[in-house]
Amino acid sequence: MQSWRRKSLWLALSASWLLILLRVFPVLRLAEPARRQAGAPQGWPRWLDAELLQSFSQPGELLEDGPQPPQAPRGGSCYRGACFDASRCRGGGLKVFVYPAVGPISETPRKVLTSIEGSRYHTASAAEACLLILVLSPDTPAGECHPELPQWDGGKNHLVLSLHPAPCLRIFQLGQAMVAEASPTMDTFRPGFDVALPLLPEAHPLRGGALGQLQQHSPLPGVALIAMAEERGGWRTVGTNFSACPWDGRCEQDHGPKQTHPRATLPNATFCLIPGRNPDALHFLQALQAGCIPVLLSPRWELPFSEVIDWTKAAVVADERLPLQVLAALQEMPLTRVLALRQQAQFLWDAYFSSVEKVIHTTLEIIQDRVSGASAHPSLLWNSPPGALLALSTFSTSPSDFPFYHLQQGSRPLGRFSALIWVGALGQPPLKLIQAVAGAQHCAQILVLWSSKKPPPPRWPETAVPLTVLDGHRKASDRFLPYSAISTDAILSLDAHSSLSTSEVDFAFMVWQSFPERMVGFLTWSHFWDETQGGWGYTGERANEFSMVLTSAAFYHRYYHTLFTHSLPKALRTLADESPPCVEVLMNFLVAAVTKLPPIKVPYGPWHQEAKPPLVPGSPRLRSEPRPAAQDCINQMAAGFGHMPLVSSRLRLDPVLFKDPVSVLRKKYRSLEKP
């Protein structure tokens, strides 16, 4: 009894202690924040007299910002407006002169010279040029860095270009010259004035180029997450389950499974980690080519063409001091972003870096953009396929005028087309064809390109749409000139002897509206690799696949006329003029090189074949074997492009109910099945 009473007393006592403690303890615990609350409340205080505070500028101070005389540029600091005299480029646009090589030069500078000379901006006269380029060779001894240049003028309007680190660049009195250098350090690079070039491998191809390695949009399952650039070149892939930083020497213990690859192989991984030191810039291009997302660890060099290329879309620039955060971010990166970065990296490789020619032309295009001011390429044109070298700003600066950007712009091509009928040397006025085309639902105008020796007939048939006769110069490439009379986005290119029905035209145009960047045609050719000849060949025979459509009856965007005329090398166009089927091949090459996709075939009634007039010599033949002489042109074209751009397709687009066992009355394009 005693014991439990004592115990109860103790318990009561302890309970009251507890109560007291619990009352005191939280007060103690809250003491610190409580004091803080009294002193500095959470967040920036709402001042009572906030309304009474003075403005940062006195009334009128912003207006009376004391006048200052215009300043001359400070010594040594150049930027576009000051050191580059763009007014010399007015009128004819950018004209580029390049100093010829003195003495023997090595491979890369020769490629650079060839590329500049092949550019559409090149001029042979130094007096006419507004940009003069001096190509530095890496093997010029330091003592011979000062060539005698009559037009030097303190370096004004000069571009000193070096694809590889040249000793001369450090010694040379640059004056007011711009510098285009491979991976320049950020400290010396002058944004908006200099041009940052990529560091190219020694054996970079002149044109066409090493194709991108990306074969599919998403990473293959099981492929390594990260490849790490090694100091001696080459890559080391790191497994996906690692906890430590793979690039920091201090945490060498656990890299997970790893593999080292020899120097030349491209990394096979989702991300490629590239250290920030200058020599590692070489890895950067390898990663792009492999479609491996470059992760640059605090790069000390300016990224190539950073003035126009939005690298945030294709690469990750990370801080090398936060290895774990970077790794975690890469591991957790949403699939959507991984896909976008991969594709963009690959697109940039193909568009700007895969050949010396592309690198040089991109450099010139950047300077052209600076010169042209408001009519420069918008950022979208630089940063989405097909890229600014293939989307000419002379055509338009509005993306929705091009066939490539309708999705991004939320726009559509104009819903009408112009028929452009080419009348060849001995051609007759294509009266029946004109009637068939004019009857098409969406035809806006008919243009007859009269290239015949005979004078055009004085009277043309009455048509529902305006008919204009244009005078041709009897050259095969005439038909692809950008005539200002063409008022629609779509062109239906026709030959005088083409035979088409109205409903074929209607349907083909409906299809074209879904694929405005491609050619939509009726008759096809296909190319093949000829083992016996060791070269490319092409045939008009009917086959299960095709890679070209004949421009004697095809829809395409009028932009391709501009591109054909202004971007193709002269040599290729001359070649095409000599052999008319070559023009067709050339146009198909061009569109395929831009889109990287095959053309589209739509149904073509077999009855046209019988009604076809006898073949006119000198004009492209329909569905017949191209003459042997023409066979060679495909190889010359392939050489000119540097690769074979044509892509084969195995399908034809038919109307939804084409030849289906339903009543003909239900079918919209019923005359496609029977004349």
Binding site: V27, A50, P67, P221, S514, V647
Partner: protein, 737 residues
Amino acid sequence: MPRAGLDAQECEEEAVGVIMCASVKYNIRGPALIPRMKTKHRIYYITLFSIVLLGLIATGMFQFWPHSIESSGDWSVEKRSVRDVPLVRLPADSPVPERGDLSCRMHTCFDVYRCGFNPKNKIKVYIYPLKKYVGEAGVPVSSTISREYNELLTAISDSDYYTDDVTRACLFVPSIDLLNQNSLRVKETAQALAQLSRWDRGTNHLLFNMLPGGPPDYNTALDVPRDRALLAGGGFSTWTYRQGYDVSIPVYSPLSAEVDLPEKGPGPRRYFLLSSQVALHPEYREDLAALQARHGEAVLVLDKCSNLSEGVPAARRRCHQQQAFDYPQVLQEATFCMVLRGARLGQAVLSDVLRAGCVPVIIADSYVLPFSEVLDWKRASVVVPEEKMSDVYSILQSIPRRQIEEMQRQARWFWEAYFQSIKAIALATLQIINDRIYPYAAISYEDWNDPPAVKWGSVSNPLFLPLIPPQSQGFTAIVLTYDRVESLFRVITEVSKVPSLSKLLVVWNNQNKNPPEDSLWPKIRVPLKVVRTAENKLSNRFFPYDEIETEAVLAIDDDIIMLTSDELQFGYEVWREFPDRLVGYPGRLHLWDHEMNKWKYESEWTNEVSMVLTGAAFYHKYFNYLYTYKMPGDIKNWVDAHMNCEDIAMNFLVANVTGKAVIKVTPRKKFKCPECTAIDGLSLDQTHMVERSECINKFASVFGTMPLKVVEHRADPVLYKDDFPEKLKSFPNIGSL
């Protein structure tokens, strides 16, 4: 509760201590105590302890509840004035920071380790408490704080970036107001900065300044020595701006808040070119006068008014000869507006000009435009070198009209997003720094630059790169099945004949029944995997299973046995040419029902298609990921609940992200399961059609738009139905069943 294991004896002995906090409950049941107690004592004890417990609860409530009220009360009710802030006296010999280091870059001068704590890829910003600094003689270093700087700090404090924990902060913002260099004493301000508690050579400190320099030579960056601190400055020139380190910000125009200027649509305006600045150098005045003389009415050059009427502040009035204009309203009358350099490069007029939707013509050589790191000024302005000023008219004339309208819209959008308030300026600055520190979470060029209208209308196809995947990879067939084993086996046998099939995945959606034993499955040449699901849901068909190793996926129902091997192989070939689309066999159409004013589902023999059924369709496996994780709204659950329309949902999803139409392959057939014919087809069809129409309407409202695209074509082999020997055709067996 680490002490719970103690028995009652120990408890008693330690009861005086602080320890036995919550073991009270345990004590009452203590094995040593209770058996010795009588019932009435037990009641006594229970009562006692109930009281104690009640007391505890009451204490707890008293401790926590009232406090929370008190603290929030503290926060908003507290009355404080800027004049009452603590005073700090700076000794004359207190240290001055070094001048800014021009070679600073994020990876050299910025201590990124301090940002390591920050979750969600967001930097944390600490603001020093406000103090009033005076020199040794008691003369204030600067005015304590300006209205704008107070707004700026309030904006930061209200944002997600803010933290009041100085130890976890990654960026520090002093409360010393540096917006205008004219209103501070340079050396003493620098001393004030240097004595900040975390200054450390200015590492990770962000200073805001809009009006740098002072007479006579007006430096283009703040003259206050600031060592490694980042400077968000208005009026940087290329040789004071540390690319990738500093942030160029606008000079805020107080008129933004004072004057109401509603948006005016783009288009040609009364004046082609306008100059509205008043304090211009005489040389510029001459050039402007010459411009006006040459181009007459199209150019308007304004100046101060000599005789101001009453009541209108000088900042709001401009004159041309005797004619008076309201400013900034007059800016809306012009297509292009000059922004010339004054003593400083950054001019507040830029903000007014943008706001008026007037395209700024910037004539200030070497000026680093505001937020130029992320904003594409080519889209909203024309930059003309100073020496080309006389040509400005012809330069502007050469810009096409459509582009001008685009620039006008863009100018107004820049103002709305990044210029219109101090808050907008502050948040854009922090976002830029945040993007540098967490580049993998950075917001894109489009997010910065595209006006909302463009963002809304545009589609960025996730599979934008034109690629034709290699045929060698093949496709994975996914068969969703419940219990129709016989039919399933037939499908498996048929599909396994397709040359490009690389794997077959059976999604067993029946939880009540086990899939047949391994030995019963058809023997096929490719791996066959059975996935058992946890729940009978339609969305299981679109789950991105790890087993899918190819990009191409063929979704096929367990009753689709009428597709030939040629047809399936051809479908795969078509998919390779259109890897970003749904490529399927039965096509369907949506139509607008004018009577009912809603969408209608159509399965008749139409000339158009806008959907393909996923009972047999090829698509990229990425869309599985999208369907499972990124489907908008509640569509995914809605479909699972209704056990219908998963295919329509997939069609909506793909069309919405790619902006492209489906591809229907091969001629039409009757897609009906043989065993279904027994049921009364007609009525079933009708309810089915009503349900499907409802799905379309439901999805269209969730997506907020109708993404489906209608086309009139389908894909057939090149030589389909051509007069050509069948045995030479690649896919002869098409449309035959």
